[in-house]
Each structure stands twice: as C-alpha cells, then as structure tokens.
C-alpha cells in the first residue's frame, strides 16, 4: 500500500481481502445467499411482530462464525410495550 493511498484514506488491500472473505465464507458454509438471509430476516420480523412490537430499525441480524461453526445471531430490541399497556388499562378504568 503506497503512502498516497494512505493519505487518501484508502483501505489496505489485505484488509479488504479479509473482510470480503469473511462474508463469502459464511455464505459458502451455510449455503445461504444474502437474498435468502434477507428473506429469513423478513419472516422473522413478521412472526415476532405478530406477538410484540419490535424496533426493526435498531435490530441486528446476521451470521457469525466461531471457529468452523456458524451461528445465526439476532438482537431485536422490543419497543416499550408495558407502559402503553398500563396507559390503556388506566383508560378503561
């Protein structure tokens, strides 16, 4: 990587290689394309939303690897439902 590249804030090619490989390998290993993963995410959001209100914007969803095994990781913030329920209860009284 040349000095000029660094000056221009260009990422070192080895770093790009590693990042790109990390993604490609996860998809190769799970045999899931990014599109399939996206549709899985949408299904998950739809299912959970039938029960509780979730913050889809703040949700994290993806594949991670631990050694040679893969896991699907979802971190889904729930919108503050209890308070609203409490309000509704107060109204009905």
């Amino acid at each position: 990587m040349s000095f000029l590249d660094k000056l221009l804030g260009k990422k070192a090619s080895a770093d790009s290689a590693k990042e790109r490989l990390q993604l490609v390998l996860i998809h190769d290993r799970t045999d899931l394309t990014p599109a399939e993963l996206e549709s899985l995410r949408d299904d998950l959001v739809a299912t959970i939303s039938r029960h509780i209100e979730i913050d889809v914007e703040a949700m994290e969803f993806g594949l991670e690897h631990d050694g040679r095994s893969q896991r699907l990781v979802a971190d889904i913030p729930i919108k503050r439902v209890p308070r609203r329920r409490a309000k509704r209860k107060a109204k009905t009284k």
Binding site: A12, S13, A14, K18, L21, L25, D28
Partner: protein, 265 residues
C-alpha cells in the same frame, strides 16, 4: 511397519500441491523415512517432472490397478534418495480409470512397504479429488494468501469434514513477507483466522522453487533455500517433531529492526 497415508489437496489449481508433495517427500526421505508418492492426477501427470523422474517411467498407477504390472514394477526409485519412490499417474487415461476403492487397495498394499504414502490430489472437488482422499489417514490442504485460493480451501475443508476425514491441516504456500508487511497480502494469522484449522507450515515465495522445478530437483534438498527450509520443517512436523514456525514477517534490515524495537512498526 504401517505407513501413514497423507493426501495433499487444495481445491484451487496452481497453488503448489505438486511442489509441496515433491518437497515434503524429499525432506522426509532425506531424514531416513521410506516414502512412496502417488500422482493422483490421472491424465495430467506432473509429479514425475517435478521430481526429475520423467525419463524412468515404464508403468503407471492404472497399470497396477488393471493388473498389467506388479506394484513394485511401477514404483520408480529416486535418483538421489534410495528410499524415495514415485508411482506416476497415467497420462493417456482419464480419472474414471481409477476408483476410490482402487486407491484404498493400493494404499493398503503399500502399508507394509514404507513409512509414508503421499498422495498428490488433482485440483477440484470431483472424482479425482474424492479418489485421492479416500485412502488418507491425514489430509493437508495447500493454499496461497489470496482470496480465491482461501475460498476454495475453505470449501475443501468443509467437504473433508463432511466425508469424515477431519478438517485437515494447512500449508500456506507462497507467502510474500514484504507484501504482508505493506498490508497488501493476507498474513498467516489472517488466513488461519478465516479457515480455523491447524497449520503445518508457511512457505515463503521463493524463486528457487521454479529453478528447482526447471531442474527436477526440489528445493527441500537445497540447504540455502528458504522455501526448502520451510518444507524441511513441515516434514519434521509430520513426523511428530515440534518445530517452531519460521519468522518470515520479521524485517530484514537493521534500520527496520531498530524501528520495530522503537515501536514504530
């Protein structure tokens, strides 16, 4: 004496499988082991030229399998190392001439003949590859620090796991330390991080490897070659010795070493 059968494979072609087989074989034989190499790349025979034995071929692996010769007649003895042998691939046949059970039978017949059987697998993940791994007690995957080679290595490791051959272990070939230092090549740590398998050795890029193949004299026999040293270390690790990895990424010049000491690198 029961031989260990080691298959060397890669997925991607051109990463240095055949060179690795030849060099590991030479290094093992130079340390006194009796070694038989099998060229598993039917139709694309190459291990013979890398070992410099192309003029001595009379019979090949298909001749053994189809019963046209005895096993020992097809074992070509090396010119310099009397305990190194090659069973060449057939050049005018295709991979369908050999089956996985043929390979297993051949390896079994060699069990009592030597200490190590090294099988040079063809590139790819199809029949020739499946044949090559069928008799393996251990599989070594060769890769380069380059995206397509690492990706293919990962596929092969996945298949090895699925076939019950374990994840295999890794040789990282053609590492260019100065490119790694400039952050323009994946480092050994990067590749190990991505593939998550055991490492058997790191071989630096070395022009001597080409010179060696031009002459049919693998660099493992050249005491001055860095790649040769790496292959000799790999051979010792295969025999169970605990050999530290070469520090390829350390800087050569005094100034760079001073900078490193001063925490500049």
């Amino acid at each position: 004496m029961a031989a260990q059968v080691i298959t060397i494979t890669s997925g991607k072609g051109g990463v240095g499988k055949t060179t690795a087989v030849a060099n590991i074989a030479v290094a093992l034989a130079a340390n006194g082991s009796k070694v038989v190499c099998i060229d598993g790349d039917i139709g694309l025979r190459n291990l013979d030229v890398i070992l410099g034995l192309e003029n001595r071929i009379v019979y090949d692996i298909v001749d053994i399998i189809e019963g046209r010769c005895r096993l020992k007649q097809a074992m070509i003895r090396d010119k310099k190392l009397p305990n190194l042998f090659l069973i060449p691939a057939a050049q005018t046949r295709d991979k369908n001439a050999v089956s996985a059970s043929d390979m297993k039978r051949l390896a079994k017949d060699l069990y009592s003949e030597c200490d190590y059987v090294l099988v040079d697998s063809p590139a790819g993940i199809e029949r020739g590859f499946k044949n090559a791994i069928a008799p393996a007690d251990r599989v070594i995957v060769v890769t380069n620090p380059e995206v397509s080679a690492v990706r293919d290595a990962d596929r092969v490791i996945g298949i090895l796991e699925a076939e019950g051959k374990g994840p295999g272990s890794l040789i990282l070939n053609r590492l260019n330390p100065s490119m790694v230092k400039k952050n323009d090549m994946l480092s050994a740590d990067d590749v190990l991080d991505l593939l998550a398998v055991d490492l058997v050795g790191i071989v630096p890029e070395d022009e001597g490897v080409i010179v060696g193949s031009n002459r049919g004299a693998p660099v493992a026999a050249d005491p001055k070659s860095k790649a040769g040293q790496a292959f000799r270390n790999i051979a010792r690790r295969i025999t169970g010795e605990d050999v530290p990895f070469l520090d390829l990424e350390s800087s050569g010049s005094l100034w760079e070493r001073i900078q490193k000491l001063a925490g500049r690198n």
